[in-house]
């Protein structure tokens, strides 16, 4: 937290009360600050939106559309063919792996026994839609013999050029960039160590050892620790092979070469790879993504000494060796992982001039003043940049900073006061903060619970609106919108989404209306089954009406309810339709006289004229 200086007011208060006030003050601001700090870390790891695409953050967008003026579709093909030619021209550079030994505490072979290491590269390709599983291609790139359990201090032959003794493997780099018609998703190095039988070992000539210049101990440490995390440890492999070592058993280990962002994980250094024992099987293609088998262990729970003694380990060192060529083209270099904020800072420094209100060239002073309850204020150390104090986002300009504070940190309310040296921002708690969920209300009721809020990847959203792109006319960015307002309702931008962002429910079942059901109105209660049933039951309950009357009543009532006649003028039509649909039924149930009586009563009530009565009876008689 930035340092605070107390501002003295000259009001006399007892010390304890002042102190209590101060405590309350801190507490009030503490909770939103903690929330925003937490969100900051989370958004760095797993962002929900990109800052550079916001309309008020143009300063962070380094792409421009200048190229669009000169773009022509015809040039696309040329660009791509040139690129691929450049790639194939470039001579290969090499990944050198120098095996120092295969360690297994359980093996009791004499010094000098060797094991055979076969190295494969498995390319996992992007799964096309019609394929049932990701295509895998496995390519063997070399076989070496390594010593079993060499004592400490022995290493493999000299790095780089020599080639020499068989414990060094060089893999040309073009293996990793050709596409073969499939888009490659990731590469995995698989080491398959097979032990030759004991008797054969005795006949093997003793291998000469070579010394290798050790890399600095720090690098070694780091890469080992790196790889403790990276090695795949299946649940069983911690206990290693169960003493199968006297048979022709096979140990397999995997190393992921590139992570899913294309960054190379194999930094140069010494590696210790834990191997999993398979007894005498052919090398299996790794059927599942190495990501699924990998698990992260925290370093302090692993007891590094104990664990690595009794399980089979393959030790080797790895480096990348770019050969010098006469070509002047730049090869794309694989960069190691960089911490993200360094990346952001780097990007920020190359931005063009930020948008919005042109700010003076001199570094601006931004003063934050925390206002609590209108009677106590605290000032902070001023900042000379436009970084947000809560999420350390570089906003590049004052307007962007204020807009960001207002929108992303809505639990506070910010007021801008121009200051001779720059700007002063008053921060107070937003009393009218509405913390309710502003997204799709379906997310809250969908099953499984909380699915939409899970961070395990993108989830399918059900769209209820139809706006795709919207470019509203925006007012010119000016700082006046942040000045203190007497009433807070300057014209808020009207919502561009017409339609429903509420959760509606069905009338009878009270279940939420799904988005695809929104178009149909299924709630109109017209002539429901239960009403019909009920009227029939009630009519049956009359004790002073004869059967024929009841029957006619039911028929007539059902007819009227079905067609929903509501006006007096519709009754003649109702009669006509009734006769058409139920005429024969009436006669069959011998309700002729009942019907005539009904017509007469309708006439008595003035609902139909005599002409209608006459016509109806005539109709029925036919």
């Amino acid at each position: 937290m930035p340092q605070k200086k107390k501002d003295s007011f000259g009001i006399d208060k007892p010390v304890t009360e002042v102190h209590a006030d101060h405590e309350l003050f801190l507490q009030a601001f503490e909770k939103p600050t903690q929330i925003y700090r937490y969100l900051r870390s989370r958004n760095i790891l797993s962002p929900i939106f990109l800052q550079r695409t916001l309309y008020y953050m143009r300063g962070r967008m380094s792409r421009s559309h200048k190229n669009r003026m000169s773009f022509k579709l015809d040039y696309l093909l040329d660009k791509v063919t040139q690129k691929s030619e450049r790639q194939s021209e470039r001579p290969a550079s090499f990944l050198n792996i120098c095996f120092s030994g295969f360690h297994d505490g359980k093996l009791e072979g004499a010094l000098g026994d060797v094991a055979r290491v076969e190295t494969f590269i498995v390319k996992m390709c992007h799964k096309k839609r019609k394929e049932s599983s990701s295509p895998l291609m496995q390519v063997s790139v070399g076989t070496q013999d390594v010593n079993i359990n060499p004592p400490e201090g022995e290493g493999c032959g000299g790095g780089g050029g020599g080639g020499g003794r068989n414990s060094t493997l060089s893999i040309p780099i073009h293996n990793y960039t050709s596409s073969n018609g499939h888009q490659v998703k990731s590469y995995v190095l698989i080491f398959r160590v097979s032990l030759v039988h004991d008797q054969e070992n005795a006949c093997e000539p003793v291998m000469k050892r070579r010394r290798m210049s050790r890399s600095s101990s720090q690098e070694c440490q780091e890469s080992n620790l790196n790889n403790v995390g990276n090695t795949t440890m299946n649940g069983n492999s911690v206990n290693g092979g169960d003493g199968h070592s006297s048979m022709g058993s096979i140990y397999v280990g995997e190393l992921v070469m590139f992570d899913r962002h294309g960054r190379c994980l194999l930094t140069p250094g010494k590696y210790e790879l834990v191997l999993d024992c398979h007894s005498g099987e052919s090398p299996q293609l790794c059927k599942t993504s190495p990501k699924k088998n990998a698990s992260w262990e925290s370093i302090d729970t692993l007891k590094l000494d104990g664990i690595f003694n009794n399980i089979p380990i393959l030790k080797f060192s790895l480096n990348w060796n770019n050969e010098n060529t006469a070509s002047s083209l730049e090869r794309p270099r694989l960069r190691p992982l960089k911490p993200l904020d360094v990346v952001l800072a780097n990007n920020a420094s190359t931005k063009p001039k930020p948008q919005g209100v042109p700010s003076p060239e001199a570094p601006q002073l931004v003063l934050y003043q925390f206002v609590y309850n209108n009677n106590s204020r605290q000032q902070t150390e001023a900042r000379r940049d436009f970084h947000c104090p809560w999420c350390s986002l570089n906003c590049m300009a004052l307007y962007s900073l204020l807009k960001h504070l207002k929108l992303c940190h809505a639990r506070f309310s910010f007021t801008y006061v121009p200051h001779p040296k720059g700007a002063r921002i008053d921060v107070s708690l937003n009393e009218c903060y509405d913390g309710s969920y502003a997204g799709n209300p379906q997310d809250l009721v969908a099953m499984p619970a909380g699915f939409a809020f899970s961070r395990s990847g993108p989830t399918r959203r059900t769209p209820t609106t139809t706006v795709l792109v919207c470019r509203p006319k925006r007012p010119k960015p000016s700082l006046s919108e942040f000045l203190e307002q007497d009433d807070n309702d300057f014209d808020l931008p009207r919502s561009y989404i017409l339609g429903h962002n509420r959760l509606y429910h069905h009338t009878m079942t009270c279940l939420p209306i799904q988005p695809h059901e929104l178009d149909e109105d299924s709630e109109g209660e017209h002539d429901s089954e239960w009403v019909r049933h009920k009227t029939q039951m009630m009519i049956d309950e009359f004790s002073d009406v004869n059967e024929g009357e009841k029957e006619l009543m039911k028929m007539w009532n059902l007819h009227v309810m079905k067609y929903n006649f509501v006006g007096d003028s519709q009754i003649p039509l109702a009669c006509a339709m009734f006769l058409e649909t139920h005429g024969t039924e009436l006669l069959r149930k011998s309700l002729y006289r009942n019907f005539v009586l009904h017509m007469i009563s309708l006439h008595d009530f003035g609902l139909i004229g005599t002409g209608v009565v006459y016509k109806s009876i005539l109709h029925l008689q036919n």
Binding site: T509, C510, L511, P512, Q514, H516, W530, H533, K534
Partner: protein, 368 residues
Amino acid sequence: MVAPPKMGYKFTCYLKEDHGQPIFGIHFNQHLREGQPLVFATAGSNRISVYQCMEDGSIKLLQCYSDPDTEETFYTVAWSYDTETGRPILAAAGSRGVIRIFSLATMQCVKHFIGHGNALNELKFHPRDPNLLLSVSKDHALRMWNIRTDILVAIFGGVEAHRDEVLSADIDVEGTCIVSCGMDHSLKIWKLTTDAMISTISQSYTFNPSRAVRPFPTLQQNFPDFSTRDIHRNYVDCVRWLGRFILSKSCENTIVCWKPGLLNQTELKHNDTNVTIIHKFDYKECEIWFMRFALDFWQKVLAVGNQLGRTYVWDLDISDPTQARCTTLTHPKCVAPIRQTAFSRSGNILITVCDDATIWRWDRVAQL
């Protein structure tokens, strides 16, 4: 005349849940058979706890779930199993009106069903179809859900249905009828064998919501197949089928065994005003409502607790119902109202739960 063999239960152990709130519901998992552990679940406060009865007479806590809303109070639990994997499933519901489905193998609440307009008083699974869940609510209606496909199959409510809170319901052993009872003093029987019901249930398995334009055609059952208010004069808070007879109780210190219609009548008529009372099981000091009795799986024993912590047990496995003797189970520390009782599948263990958050275990002792 040979006296009917008596059975007694003796106190084995008790434990108290730390929330101190009444435990309203308890249910044994009757899907576990001979040789499998004796597992039961309790519902009280905002918690669902799963326990196992151990051989040495103790009770061991296996799992415990707590609703994030501290205002929730669970009233009822019911056991079922997943028809695809065979894993146990626990359904729980209470004052918030939300039915929660827990998968005990993954220890998660995998589903929830909203839609009831008020609190839920009881949950029952269909004895033949583990996916059909009957829920009974304070909003005067019963609902049947298909928890496999997440579809509301039927609503038993409306113009001729209950007019006040529905407190309890039961489905008979063959799955042909539901009997329900409530605060309106009435007991109603709903047939599940009508064409409309059978077709709606089978439709609920095949309905695909993402392809359909209209929502699922939930059956609105407004008219019960039988209804009576002549058995009890107050809230009817517990009902169970006993073969083709019905056992029900109110807060009048008696459990009534009766059948709809005349004694020899086998058909159900919806406007039948006849009921035949077969037997009454009397006990004392149970004048508050929401006190449930239980039958064991084989319907040989009946148990109910009263508001002073005493449990009454009847042996039903006798030819002459008037000979049904009652044993009383007491313990000096058991003084709070006993909200519900439950038997293990074999009937050898009886568990009662009380308003002071205590759970009591009684084991059967054969007496001669």
